[in-house]
Symmetry: C2
Subunit: 241 residues, 2 copies
């Protein structure tokens, strides 16, 4: 019997230090909306997505590399930027062949935390690229940490639900002994037949839909394989595998 | 229409700083086993339970007040102590009229964190005192934080499940806009008809039952109202309300 690699789910960036990230694949998950937007942009032909942690860096780097500076703070387009964190903005016409420099409240912050912890193998995941993430995890045969971005370090439902969707597909290939993963799987099993209907009870849904009217964003972010590419982080940028 | 107080669930001590604890009731939850043991000891007539954060303090204070020093590290009776963290140890014959000085891996640590945050109103909860906790929360009409002790800052199922049991009873009296609370409620609804059967999948179950044979402890810790008193923290000690 071969020993299976482990899989853990980390429910908040503030808990990331509890997990052994050495030689692991870390899946950064920010369903509403950074990692959905990253999948959309790369699926629609963006050459790279450069995740950065501040608006100032987004502006500077976009100038340096002739890219598009974009980002979000508290759910809105960040002050000083023209483009935001909606997957709907990054159509093939607009983003094809271009470079996107993106900064967001939760997702890019978590990615930087993984980098600071020396993780070599970082990918990003959300429902639009669910199968691509699962295929990759099954191929790598390495330990996995599903890292939920949450909202300002708080637990959120949608990222945990995506972890559950991944576990649903890959659990046979991993040793899973982790109450967070069990919870993610429970939630996904309970909600999988109507993700969008269930989303109406999520705190983030209220933030995005009631305050900003972003129902199309929500639908896209919860649609499996709508932009089924695998963003892999290497040398400071996310590229399609 | 009167404004209802808020209720939040904090899934790990490492997330406690995210919640506003001012003027709130904080319910410290460590189902396996500190807060179950505290309920058992007070139910069985212990005069007070003194929660302390180190074994050395447990020994010193128990000498000072002629109490019983007890505690647990990593699921076992802590080195240097004679009594542990099992609710089964604290029968009426043994603990009636006596003072218990208790130190545990997770529960007492979380209680100290709440104290450092200046919380004035701390109670402890677990299934054996579920109704007493709910009655108190309904009477107080204050904001509530259900604070799960977890396991070394990791999320665990049993503490979250107890939060869900409380929410199940009190939700009508509170404004609940918190994905952690929604998750707790989902888990409880899914598992409530067979808590002990479901517990077999919890990581902590394996730690306690497979390593230490503590199935009786598990049963007690998951039995609603088996020791239905309310431990309230005041002036350094937990007393029955």
């Amino acid at each position: 019997m071969s020993i299976k690699p482990t899989l853990h789910t980390c429910l908040s960036p503030a808990l990331l230090h509890l997990y052994d990230l050495n030689d692991a694949v870390v899946v950064v998950i920010d369903v509403f909306r950074a990692t959905s937007t990253i999948a959309a942009a790369l699926y629609n032909g963006a050459e790279v997505v450069v995740p950065v942690d501040t608006v100032a860096k987004a502006i500077q780097i976009s100038k340096d590399i002739n890219g598009i500076a974009a980002g979000e703070r508290d759910g809105k387009i960040a002050e000083g930027l023209q483009y935001g964190n909606s997957p709907m903005e990054y159509t093939r016409d607009f983003i094809g062949g271009r470079k996107l420099v993106l900064t967001t409240t939760n997702g890019t912050k978590l990615l930087y935390m993984a980098l600071e912890n020396g993780v070599a193998d970082i990918v990003t995941g959300s429902f639009p690229n669910l199968s691509a993430v699962c295929d990759y995890l099954l191929q790598q045969n390495k330990n996995v940490v599903l890292a939920c971005a949450g909202w300002k370090d708080r637990f959120n439902m949608e990222d945990t639900l995506f972890a559950g969707a991944v576990i649903h597909q890959v659990s046979n290939a991993f040793t899973i002994h982790c109450d967070s993963s069990a919870t993610a799987a429970h939630l996904y099993n309970q909600m999988k037949n109507d993700l969008i209907g269930n989303a109406q009870s999520f705190t983030h849904y209220h933030r995005l839909v009631e305050r900003f009217g972003l129902i199309e964003d929500i639908r896209f972010c919860l649609t499996p394989d709508a932009a089924n590419v695998l963003p892999v982080y290497e040398n400071g940028v996310l590229k399609k595998l």
